[in-house]
Symmetry: D4
Subunit: 250 residues, 8 copies
Amino acid sequence: MNTEIKQLLEALRQGQLSTEEVYLRLKMKPFEDVGYARVDLHRKLRQGAAEVIYGAGKTPKQLQGIVRSMKKNGEKRILITRLFEEGAEALKEAEGFTYYPEAKVGIIGDFPTPDGLGTIVVATGGTSDIPVAEEAALTAEILGNQVTRLYDVGVAGLHRTLAHLEELMSAKVVIAIAGMEGALASVIGGLVDCPVIAVPTSVGYGASFGGVSALLSMLNSCASGVSVVNIDNGFGAAYQASMINHISLV
Amino acid sequence: MNTEIKQLLEALRQGQLSTEEVYLRLKMKPFEDVGYARVDLHRKLRQGAAEVIYGAGKTPKQLQGIVRSMKKNGEKRILITRLFEEGAEALKEAEGFTYYPEAKVGIIGDFPTPDGLGTIVVATGGTSDIPVAEEAALTAEILGNQVTRLYDVGVAGLHRTLAHLEELMSAKVVIAIAGMEGALASVIGGLVDCPVIAVPTSVGYGASFGGVSALLSMLNSCASGVSVVNIDNGFGAAYQASMINHISLV
Amino acid sequence: MNTEIKQLLEALRQGQLSTEEVYLRLKMKPFEDVGYARVDLHRKLRQGAAEVIYGAGKTPKQLQGIVRSMKKNGEKRILITRLFEEGAEALKEAEGFTYYPEAKVGIIGDFPTPDGLGTIVVATGGTSDIPVAEEAALTAEILGNQVTRLYDVGVAGLHRTLAHLEELMSAKVVIAIAGMEGALASVIGGLVDCPVIAVPTSVGYGASFGGVSALLSMLNSCASGVSVVNIDNGFGAAYQASMINHISLV
Amino acid sequence: MNTEIKQLLEALRQGQLSTEEVYLRLKMKPFEDVGYARVDLHRKLRQGAAEVIYGAGKTPKQLQGIVRSMKKNGEKRILITRLFEEGAEALKEAEGFTYYPEAKVGIIGDFPTPDGLGTIVVATGGTSDIPVAEEAALTAEILGNQVTRLYDVGVAGLHRTLAHLEELMSAKVVIAIAGMEGALASVIGGLVDCPVIAVPTSVGYGASFGGVSALLSMLNSCASGVSVVNIDNGFGAAYQASMINHISLV
Amino acid sequence: MNTEIKQLLEALRQGQLSTEEVYLRLKMKPFEDVGYARVDLHRKLRQGAAEVIYGAGKTPKQLQGIVRSMKKNGEKRILITRLFEEGAEALKEAEGFTYYPEAKVGIIGDFPTPDGLGTIVVATGGTSDIPVAEEAALTAEILGNQVTRLYDVGVAGLHRTLAHLEELMSAKVVIAIAGMEGALASVIGGLVDCPVIAVPTSVGYGASFGGVSALLSMLNSCASGVSVVNIDNGFGAAYQASMINHISLV
Amino acid sequence: MNTEIKQLLEALRQGQLSTEEVYLRLKMKPFEDVGYARVDLHRKLRQGAAEVIYGAGKTPKQLQGIVRSMKKNGEKRILITRLFEEGAEALKEAEGFTYYPEAKVGIIGDFPTPDGLGTIVVATGGTSDIPVAEEAALTAEILGNQVTRLYDVGVAGLHRTLAHLEELMSAKVVIAIAGMEGALASVIGGLVDCPVIAVPTSVGYGASFGGVSALLSMLNSCASGVSVVNIDNGFGAAYQASMINHISLV
Amino acid sequence: MNTEIKQLLEALRQGQLSTEEVYLRLKMKPFEDVGYARVDLHRKLRQGAAEVIYGAGKTPKQLQGIVRSMKKNGEKRILITRLFEEGAEALKEAEGFTYYPEAKVGIIGDFPTPDGLGTIVVATGGTSDIPVAEEAALTAEILGNQVTRLYDVGVAGLHRTLAHLEELMSAKVVIAIAGMEGALASVIGGLVDCPVIAVPTSVGYGASFGGVSALLSMLNSCASGVSVVNIDNGFGAAYQASMINHISLV
Amino acid sequence: MNTEIKQLLEALRQGQLSTEEVYLRLKMKPFEDVGYARVDLHRKLRQGAAEVIYGAGKTPKQLQGIVRSMKKNGEKRILITRLFEEGAEALKEAEGFTYYPEAKVGIIGDFPTPDGLGTIVVATGGTSDIPVAEEAALTAEILGNQVTRLYDVGVAGLHRTLAHLEELMSAKVVIAIAGMEGALASVIGGLVDCPVIAVPTSVGYGASFGGVSALLSMLNSCASGVSVVNIDNGFGAAYQASMINHISLV
């Protein structure tokens, strides 16, 4: 697959390029030219998926610049996470831009037709976890996944969780989002046999310590098949879930 | 009820005691003599219940001394918690002594006939929590409670929990004991409508931090009606559960 | 008591409903229809008690919607905790609504006649703990309990605590609320022989760490019969206290 | 699929069973009988996979009992994690038992032919992480996965990591195991486009705090597609990796 | 008081020493020679008091060497804290040596006649705190203080504390030693009007975190006049208490 | 000294009061009437000193009410700590009121003539610690102490510390106030032979954790004679320092 | 070099000054007069370098005063760190003042010609780390160093880091600045053979804990030759880097 | 300098190697072959210096194997850190092996003649810090540095620190090693104008938290020019100090 390097070497062999030229090009090129082509692709998503911008800490001007440059490069779908009002305001002129204020997500372009293996369930313990859940759900959707939202199915009312066994059990991946004591991940992890990606949220007060209690709870889950991402990191969970749902079959 | 003080005052009024004598006796007596008689009783249990010794950090000799002195004072039932092998060895000669090595509990005297309002359920998430659970169960029994043990009913196998709904729902108090992520307390708290006393255990590894994860999880329980005691404190949970189960009806 | 299920089965037996209809209704209904009727009741309070809404993180509009729907369902008493100004403003039109700004509590409907076994004492260490205490006291009252408020009886002026021995000792449950070093729970726990539910508060500065010091202090209480709820969780303490005070005697 | 319930209802309709009998059977059965049959399967692995025993905290006798009972039930492959010398000694008589002392893993039965989609790479930062890695690798293998071991490829010698780009990039899942600063997960996460499951280890000293530094590092990974399990939890990572590698394609 | 420097300068002025000689001696001498004589005394105790050796981490041989050297220098009283069995064994030949195993304290020489302003009270919450208390008490005594020991007067049995009001109130300083929730310091601080030095101990389990809970509790004491030393630092508390009790009146 | 009780008893003996009347008065009175008169005095300062109000968390109205009531009771000097702008505004009409905005301290009445044994030095590591230092200095002054302020004498410029050896060494107590690494307490503790009360401040950023680093540093001081109060607690340090400086000589 | 002291002594010897005068001047002078001249210089930078003011917590007025006084003393270059808008506004009139708002740095005077041994590389993981990096870069420049800025070269896109190997490897010191998981320091530390000073930043969310995760990661770096400064302390890193780059060769 | 690659390319151009051969060799070689030659050297020390083995967690057999292989490769000097008794025993046969039990360091080969710019001072606060200091000193010496040991010069006896100003001030780098409150780094940092590398040690008890207090103290040092390494990491400090002392002058 490293055809480019081979071409370089071939051109050298045939005298079309000098040793110095080949040496320089081997050295000056981006890393992937030396045979690690996929390196450069590490943040690229599969064909048809969106490019991602982490909006937090970027000025409106910076955001405009990055979006403009991406569009010039032919990007059709762009996902901007942690995009606050001010930034959204600056991008509202961009063609095809939609802002989802609850999720603090901006999306440029239309959603692709889902092409994953199956459905990703995004479940939350309470209603206060919904902003994180929407970040996850929109991320999964823009990456080409079918998403089922199960919100406010926390374990304090276990029948609410159990009422959705059907959806939970037919999922390819479940993203379990909860604050406070974070027990949702363990209960779902005990019910399903697909991977569960747990997202602790900063919902709670007192000894919830901004999501630390939920985080620890999820890390210690007695259910097998549960892994965890950072507090409030709906995007990260959805990104990995999409990877799983789009696992290459070859 | 402060008849003693009244008698003192009356004796003064009648000239049987001098002002100085009464003053001195008011001052020198233990606190409870001044009308707060129950103060002295604060560690006493109801009629028929056991006296309690916290065994940890006491030498075999000290334990022997304390037990001897209690027996001389007429105590018939003595509960010794955190009693390690060495201490148990020292007490094995004491009449009526039984040692429960798993629970690290020693008991002198026989168990009383249960006289509480109903049953206390002691439930654990896993088998490793059983030593703490046995400390709780034996404490509750020596304090005169009917105890139902539900061990290894953790939420990772939710059907195990649900299989015992009957017992859980007919309890007067449930003691929910779990390590790792401690989700048992929330799930049970969401199922029953009696008080749940949660006991985090030090069972687990890594980010369980010796029970801290379970403790935080339980403190943040989204289920109402759950309170928490110290890590591994089976005794404390059972003591309060017994108080509730023996609540005075007048 | 599962009369509804029995009626369904009976209707099936008598040919009034088809097997499919009965199966569907068993399946579609909330969980309790399958024989776990009390499950659905887990957040319901006893007859005559209030329904509870956790106000934090709900928009004024959401609050209005929830209240409207509850009223439509015949709820006469609604307790809304953590209800901030804005939310209270939105509900002020609701019939029978009263707002308690200090406690951040809204109540719809009148207080029921107390029907518990006895009195719940709500005690605080200082005046700054009063908002948490009022959340507890109002919760207990709307749930049908007689409440005695003992505010600012902290242990730094021990005579203030001791001056109320009478009330403390005649309580069925004591809710001990304190920030800073949280010693109140231990001192009261050493004085009374009823359950003490300790509520650490975020009152303090520096090494109080937003209530963590008080929380740890209370978890380590050397007094038996003390359990703990989350920092500032006056509602949770009162809810459990009410459960104890309304313990079913059968 | 709830044919059993339907049969019950049908029997009622046809008068073969009384209403009471049907009601009782609906109520008394284990949970899964009511249509949630897969609940019971939550810890079962796919066809052909092994049953799992968590060995820590189980006595040799308990281990023998559990294994005997499983074998009686026809289990052919059993994986015992956290199995210490003493326990292994007790099981050495069991037919087909092999003990892997470094990984503290015992396996009964032979390894299945790998049937996953592709390869799981197990990579470690250093040689001290190998015990955790072996727990992961053996778990993955007994669950039917092809495993590639890349040990001691930590980022302090970046060329060591990069020398294995080929293997890393052709994996279906990478399990990145590292102690100390845990940077391996981020570097690998930035190189591959499959899911990375990060396992912090307790390797290190001083401010590594028994694996907490590596854990935090991994949770904060700036690379997308990384999720995390508990410190030293090689089993958990492999279990989820196997789920991903065996994702059902329908 | 800097007579030495003045003599140097005078000798220079009178031509007895050259400028260079004086300059050199000013520069080469130990720091205290330049007028800060007390610097060197900072670890010296008042006349008649003992020299202190911190025994932890010193080998038996090192201890023997230090003691021999001190004795050669005329020290009559030596206090060795944190002196474990092995070290005590090595010193038992030293003239006038006594070992206090509970307190892990060794003392060489006899106790001085108390010469402080009054009495130092050493109070503990429980019996397990006694080793720390004895370190404090012996330190105070060897430094020339009258000590009153009040052990096991913890607040869970408040009458035990109050029974000693007389002693507490007539103290010049109170050293309040407690583990677990450390409430003793606050309660005593609220009763007396002399300085209270609080010593948290590592007594406890679970969420006592090796004394951290008691430490935080004491730092947050709502009683004025309480300061705190390190966990288990009986020596430090007694050292400062002795300073206060020996405050110079000029 | 319990003349009041004696008078009561005498009146009873002489028939001027009935037994019931005396009993009632013994019971209804504040605690000190029963012989623990000093209890009530625990927050009272010596003759001539000020009464203290902790201003934080009190509304302007509450502050006005408390001050009015104290003045009615004859208090001439009142110290109000943690008094923010709004509260100060509400009290500015009070006779003799002065507000110290930097220290957030309000004082009613004039400063007393110092009557302690000697001088209290208030030293800070940097200029940012001055607000805490002024709280300490003003507290000490209103309690009747001579105060020497040594500000910005931190150890990073050791000559600044050493330049004040004279003042440090002639102090009766030193209050060492520092944020960041809090080394000032150790350095001063190593120089002087009077008690040092260390006050960590929340000055710093990053890993200073709001004063925790300084707090830990001070608790671990290798200098003897150092004790510590809560972060930013200038008042508490000065209060104890004043106790020491006013130690009763009988 | 202590010519001043020698002059004093000489003047004494020659009778130009009395013993008392010389004694007084030795004592009253700053510490360095007694032979520790460099002490006073500890915050002075090499010839030609800038004086430093830590702007945080200083009022605009204080800043003006300090700058005025420094200028009067002949300082030509002044670096003011943590200088917020308000303070910058107050200094804008000062001659030669420039404000760098992103870095929150103010500089008075022109930049010196670099005179260090080589180049200092300032590298950041992401764009959000740039403010800290600019504080470092400007500090290094005003102290006379050649600086190469390598921003946004984080390890999640390893080719970005590797693309700058040339610059990294020719540096005398590298300052590696990163938030989140802080892996940049380890990767760079593994690539270069000059000292790496790591600066954790508070960039991140959730379990980044305001920079603690990056801090711990850097402290545990498996690469040799890495040391760490406080979170966000760009100045401190640059100051030490400049020391290294200006190491005296004699 | 990439002569090897150039030779490869040249060989290709001249037809001595085929395109495939060159491509393969470019790909198969270690990373450094592609132009990043120094990459492989990252753990190599300057000419004449020692190779380093981290002994902790390596079995005696592994150690023997690694040493044998290194010797075969011509290494003359090998430094083995964290080498415990058992490992040292296994290596004692190796030619030129010396074991330093206090420092837990093994050295194979003789010490090189110091060739750095100047002296590295290794200073400790107390005697218990000496093992860490010896690890640092031996590391520095084997890497070719002149080392001055200043042990037990802690700030509680400031004159002890100041007595060594001469040595401190003439150092090229100071390694400041201290446990407990770690103030030594700040005091030295304030005295010298060369880089100070601070090493917190786990010496202490109670709130020293295994070195965390010293670590935080050092990170918050108010002295400029101080950076920090991991707790007890004497090796790391010496390694960086040696880098500084051997800074390349071109």
